[in-house]
C-alpha cells in the first residue's frame, strides 16, 4: 500500500516557523490559552479523573461489543424512520451520499463540519458530479475558500491571522481587504451563507455520538450551523464513523461533561443536538462508515485509538503541534491523535509522523477517554523501523541508540564515551540542514558532567557508602 510520497512534517513545520514572526507564535499562544481554559474547567470538577476513567471504560466496552451495538443502533434508528446505509470505505460513503442526492434531485448542499467527510474526500467527489457544496462552519468555510484542509479538528483555520482572513474574503466574497475585525468578518460570512442555507436541497452533518439504545445521534457545534442544515432543507444526511457508538442515553452525561471542557474549556458547546429519526416534514439518512476502522479494531497495539471523541485537547497541549501548525502533518488528522490515526490509513505515506513528537506524554495526560497516545506513538516508531521506512539519517542514529539503550552494560560503557562524541558530532551530522531540518531550531541538551548513574550510586543507592547519604 501507499504509492503516495512520504509526508515530511519537519520540513513543513520549518516553513511555518520561518515564514514570519507572526503566525507560529500566534498559533502557539492561542492554543495554549485554550489549554489553560481546559485545565481550569477540569480542575473545577472534583470527579474529573473518575469521569475520564468511566468514559474510557464505556468506549472500551462498546468497541469490544461493537457489532451488537451497531445492530441495535440500526434497528432503533430505522424504527424511528431514518434510512440507515453502510459503507465499507470512503468510495462507498461518497457513492451512497451522491446516490441519495441524485434520487432527490439535489444540486446544492450545505454541510457542517465532519472530519469523516473530510477523511472520505467527499466534497471534491460531489463537486466533480455537479453538486455545489458549501461548508457552513466559519472556520471550515475559510479553509474551503482557501482550498486548504482544516488544520485543527476543532479550530480549522487557527493557523491564519485576521489579516489572512480579510485578504481571503476580499478575494472570494468581495469584502474590504483592510477591514480585518473578526466581528465584521464573521458578520460578512453570516450574510453570505444565509441564502445558501435557504437554497440548499439538503443539509449534511457528521455525528459526535450515536446512541444504540434509542437510535439517536448527537451533533455538537457552537455556531448552530449543523442545526440550520438539519432544520431548513427537507433532506438531512449524516455521516457517522462506526466507532461513534455508545450504548445508552445515560452514557451521554459522561461524554458531554468531558467533550467541550477538553476541547475549548467550556461546560458544553453552544448546541448539543439530538436527532432521533427525521424531523417533522423531513427525511433522514444515516451513512455508517468503516473505512479502516474494523481493521484497526484488530490491531492489538492501536485499537484504543478508536476511543477518540475528536476534542483536540492532545493537539492544544502538544508542544510540537503548537509550533508546527496542523497543515505540516499533511493528513486529515493532525497533532498527536493524527500521528497515531494517519498511519492506519497509509503506513508508508505517514511513516515520518510518529517521529514528529517529543514523547513528553502530555497528550495521554489530557485525553478525556484516556487513549495511551504517547505509548502508541512510540509503538508506531517501532513499526516504521521494522518496515524499513526510516529515512537514512534517522536509521543510522536510531540503530545505534536502539542497540545501546537495549543493552544496559554497553550503555554504561558508552555513556562516558558518548559525551565527547556528541560534543563533536552535531554540526556535521545532526545539524546538517538537508539531512535533518527538524533539528535546525533545536539544540541537544548539554550532557551532565556526572552521569545520572554515577550520581545515583553516590547519593541514593543502597550500595552507596553511608557517608555519602544525606
Amino acid at each position: 500500500m501507499g504509492s503516495a510520497k512520504q509526508v515530511d512534517p519537519a520540513v513543513a513545520a520549518e516553513q511555518f516557523i520561518i515564514r514570519d514572526k507572526v503566525h507560529e507564535p500566534m498559533h502557539d499562544r492561542f492554543l495554549w490559552a485554550v489549554m489553560q481554559r481546559r485545565d481550569r474547567e477540569a480542575a473545577a470538577i472534583p470527579e474529573w479523573e473518575e469521569l475520564r476513567e468511566i468514559a474510557s471504560q464505556i468506549k472500551e466496552h462498546t468497541l469490544t461489543h461493537l457489532d451488537r451495538y451497531l445492530e441495535e443502533f440500526e434497528a432503533n434508528a430505522t424504527r424511528r424512520g431514518a434510512h440507515v446505509h453502510w459503507a465499507v470505505d470512503a468510495a462507498g460513503h461518497n457513492e451512497a451520499v451522491h446516490s441519495i442526492l441524485r434520487d432527490h434531485g439535489v444540486t446544492e448542499l450545505i454541510k457542517s463540519k465532519s472530519m469523516l467527510q473530510e477523511e472520505c474526500g467527499m466534497t471534491p467527489y460531489l463537486e466533480h458530479r455537479g453538486v455545489k457544496v458549501t461548508e457552513s462552519d466559519l472556520g471550515e468555510r475559510i479553509q474551503q475558500l482557501d482550498h486548504q484542509p482544516p488544520s485543527h479538528i476543532v479550530f480549522p483555520a487557527i493557523h491564519k491571522t485576521r489579516q489572512d482572513v480579510a485578504q481571503l474574503f476580499a478575494r472570494t466574497i468581495g469584502t474590504d481587504p483592510n477591514h480585518d475585525d473578526p466581528h465584521f468578518l464573521t458578520e460578512e460570512m453570516r450574510n453570505n451563507a444565509r441564502p445558501r442555507f435557504l437554497a440548499a436541497g439538503a443539509g449534511m452533518t457528521g455525528g459526535n455520538f450515536a446512541i444504540a439504545e434509542t437510535g439517536t445521534f448527537v451533533v455538537c457545534t457552537n455556531e448552530g450551523n449543523a442545526d440550520i442544515g438539519a432544520a431548513v432543507p427537507p433532506l438531512h444526511i449524516a455521516s457517522i464513523g462506526i466507532e461513534k457508538m455508545i450504548p445508552r442515553v445515560e452514557d451521554m452525561g459522561v461524554f458531554l461533561r468531558l467533550l467541550a471542557r477538553s476541547a475549548e474549556g467550556a461546560p458544553l458547546t453552544q448546541y448539543s443536538s439530538h436527532f432521533t429519526g427525521p424531523r417533522k416534514g423531513g427525511e433522514l439518512h444515516i451513512v455508517l462508515v468503516d473505512n479502516g476502522r474494523s481493521r484497526r479494531l484488530g490491531m492489538l497495539d492501536f485499537w484504543h485509538s478508536l476511543k477518540c471523541i475528536r476534542c483536540g485537547a492532545c493537539m492544544n497541549t502538544c508542544p510540537v503541534y503548537r509550533r508546527s501548525g496542523g497543515l505540516a502533518y499533511g493528513a486529515t488528522y493532525s497533532g498527536p491523535i493524527g500521528v497515531i490515526l494517519d498511519p492506519t490509513f497509509d503506513e508508508f505515506k505517514y511513516s515520518e509522523l510518529p517521529f514528529h513528537s517529543s514523547l513528553c506524554g502530555s497528550c495521554s495526560d489530557v485525553c478525556p477517554v484516556k487513549i495511551d497516545i504517547s505509548d502508541q506513538i512510540l509503538k508506531w516508531r517501532r513499526v516504521m523501523a521494522q518496515k524499513g521506512y526510516l529515512p537514512f539519517a534517522k536509521r543510522v542514529s536510531f540503530a545505534v541508540a536502539g542497540h545501546v539503550f537495549g543493552h544496559p552494560e554497553e550503555y554504561h560503557a558508552v555513556e562516558k564515551i558518548a559525551e565527547p562524541a556528541v560534543a563533536h558530532a552535531p554540526h556535521f551530522l545532526l545539524y546538517n540542514r538537508s539531512l535533518n531540518p527538524w533539528t535546525r531550531d533545536r539544540e541537544l541538551p548539554q550532557l551532565a558532567r556526572q552521569t545520572f548513574r554515577e550520581w545515583y550510586l553516590a547519593n541514593r543507592s543502597t550500595h552507596a557508602k553511608p557517608e555519602h547519604r544525606s
Binding site: 471504560q57 472500551e60 451497531l70 475559510i142 485576521r162 462506526i242 461546560p267 439530538h274 479494531l297
Partner: protein
C-alpha cells in the same frame, strides 16, 4: 439470510473477526456529590458566561414589555408559547423557509442545567425546529423550579424516544474561528435571553 457481500455484512463480519479478546464491562455511573447551594444562581452565572442573560419576570405582561425593551425594532415576532401572541404563530408555519424573516423567536424550554446554563428544547417545544436557528434573536421562557444540577440529571429527564429533535442550547450562536476571538451570532441566533416565568 443476509447477503454476505453487502457493505453491512462485510463490516459486521470484519468487526466480529477483529473484536479484541479482552471483554470490557459497561461501567456503572455513580451519583456524584453535588454542591449543596441553590441551582438558579449557578445557572444564571453559566448562562452569562455562554453569552446569554436571564431575567426574573412575574407575568406575561412583563414578558411582553421586556421583549419590546430588548428588541425595540423587531417587526416579526414568531411565538410558540401561549403567554406571548407575537406577530406570527409558530403553529401557522408550514415550511421552515417561512422563518427567514423572523426577528425574535419565543419558545419555552422544559428545563435548564445549572452546571452550564443550557436549556433543553425539543421539536415539540419549538413547533418548527428552524425557529430556534433562523430567528435573529431567541427568547426562552423557563420555570425557575425546573433546573437540574448537571448533565447526569439532565439525561434522566430527556425522553429521546418521544421526540425527533432535542437540543441543549447554551447561550446564542458563537464562533472563535478567526484568531480565537469570540463572536456571537455566527450563523444561528445573535442573542439568547432566558425569561424566568412558571407556565400559566
Amino acid at each position: 439470510m443476509q447477503n454476505p457481500n453487502t457493505d453491512r455484512e462485510l463490516i459486521l463480519n470484519a468487526i466480529r473477526q477483529n473484536l479484541p479478546q479482552q471483554q470490557v464491562e459497561h461501567p456503572a455511573i455513580p451519583v456524584f456529590a453535588r454542591p449543596g447551594r441553590p441551582l438558579k444562581p449557578d445557572f444564571e452565572r453559566n448562562l452569562q458566561e455562554a453569552g446569554g442573560a436571564a431575567h426574573d419576570l412575574k407575568s406575561p405582561a412583563e414578558v411582553q414589555a421586556k421583549l419590546e425593551a430588548l428588541h425595540p425594532g423587531a417587526k416579526v415576532v414568531c411565538s410558540a408559547v401561549p403567554e406571548i401572541s407575537g406577530t406570527r404563530r409558530a403553529e401557522s408555519v408550514q415550511d421552515p423557509h417561512e422563518l427567514a424573516d423572523v426577528d425574535v423567536g419565543v419558545v419555552r424550554a422544559q428545563f435548564g442545567v445549572a452546571e452550564s446554563g443550557a436549556v433543553w428544547l425539543t421539536q415539540e417545544d419549538l413547533v418548527v425546529d428552524g425557529l430556534a436557528f433562523l430567528s435573529q434573536h431567541l427568547i426562552v421562557l423557563l420555570d425557575p423550579e425546573q433546573i437540574v444540577p448537571d448533565m447526569h440529571e439532565a439525561y434522566r429527564r430527556v425522553q429521546l424516544n418521544e421526540t425527533a429533535y432535542g437540543c441543549f442550547m447554551m447561550g446564542p450562536s458563537a464562533t472563535a474561528d478567526i484568531e480565537a476571538t469570540l463572536v456571537h451570532g455566527a450563523q444561528g441566533v445573535r442573542s439568547l435571553n432566558v425569561f424566568f416565568l412558571p407556565p400559566v
